[in-house]
Symmetry: C2
Subunit: 207 residues, 2 copies
DNA sequence: GCCGAAGGTGAGCGGTCGCTTAGCGCGCCT
DNA sequence: AGGCGCGCTAAGCGACCGCTCACCTTCGGC
């Protein structure tokens, strides 16, 4: 909640970059459908229906159903990486930057839960070459968080024995928010972000 | 690794309770297939094929494909709950019991990753009544961990502001192991269990 | 030695899937 | 004014889905 450690990161819905309008409507419809039922349980007829179009309209803007998932995953990972980079590269101590990174990353996973769910849990539905591209982005995500933790250790702020393992745990904690968070639940994304930032600072020995 | 905080919990593959033999082979085949490709992407022909049988044989032992998932989910949740109960009800301080619970729970998610994956991530594929039964088991899982944390707070061992939120985070951290763990990775289930037990003790202010 | 139950197979039914194709309406450019 | 191309639809193709059915084999009990 403390205003000093908040990074707004601008727009959290990145779909406006998708044009034309019909292609964007199909993409948003696909995100909703994939998040609700999973990629394999979603039909192209359902996606087109949600976008107010006939089933064939989908293939004017996308070659296959998998290309839809690929585009969503790519845009979502770009956004996630952007959020972490913004937090990692601001000024402040390693503890402040880590708290900011966790807080904003968690807020995105909670607030944009449908997008995050598709991005984080439907990776296996991608073909080999598309998956490889996304995996490379995930490595950059990992490196960004590991960099903050290494900075904290080097500065004597953190007490961490296993940097790679702790990085994995921190990211894992944030990502799993997309699995359990519900808008009907008792917590706001901001509250979860603040709680998780505190828990992570304890994990690295800066609490 | 410290032997004092290990709870073996006996057999970690609980499928031997399933009879007859053909029904068990089908169940194990379904676990593998669901874990690899997800419930909706798995065909009954694939399951029967892995078990060395014709597609029709599946319906001698199970009414539908969903009943297979239901049975797997039920047995898996029973096992997970059993692991946590064993740790929660042993003798020792709250810190010892929490470390034991996290360590054994994580070891199960890493060591029996295929089972854990189906149990933790295919819940939405169940119908309403089957899902309700499983959700009730999950509430018991949550209560078991929360009980240990409440004990630690009451005994002055832990420093936790938000008990429910911290419980959620602890379980979330453990469960997500099933998403990222690979047998090809650099860590053994025992190593991850020990690391995570340490991180969780830090989270509750007992590190 | 025959019988019925239990456990298995091959073929296939109705339905739905991802995706394609032929053609239609409607703005835009000359 | 007229033709052209873009965005879209209706219809449907071939494949594959979950599941069923008629039939076959094996085997213990009397």
């Amino acid at each position: 909640m403390s205003a000093a450690q908040e990074t707004t990161g601008g727009e959290m819905e990145p779909w406006e970059q998708v044009t034309p309008d019909a292609a964007r409507r199909l993409l948003v419809a696909a995100v909703e459908a994939f998040a609700e039922r999973g990629y394999h349980a979603t039909t192209t007829r359902d996606i087109a229906g949600r976008a107010g179009m006939s089933p064939a309209a989908l293939y004017i803007h996308y070659k296959t159903k998998e290309e839809l998932l690929h585009r969503i995953s790519r845009i979502g990972h770009d956004k996630a990486l952007d959020i972490l980079r913004t937090a990692a590269r601001r000024e402040g101590t390693a503890a402040e930057r880590l708290a900011d990174a966790v807080s904003s990353f968690v807020r995105w996973h909670a607030g944009r839960r449908t997008t995050a769910r598709v991005v984080q849990y439907e990776l296996d539905a991608l073909g080999p070459e598309a998956r490889a591209e996304i995996v490379a982005l995930r490595r950059q995500v990992d490196a960004e968080v590991r960099g903050i933790i290494e900075d904290g250790v080097a500065a004597g702020e953190f007490d961490v024995l296993d940097v790679r393992g702790t990085t994995l745990a921190v990211l894992s904690l944030c990502i799993d928010v997309a699995r359990w968070f519900t808008v009907n639940g008792p917590r706001t994304p901001e509250e979860v972000g603040a709680l998780y930032a505190d828990l992570v600072l304890r994990m690295v020995g800066a609490g």
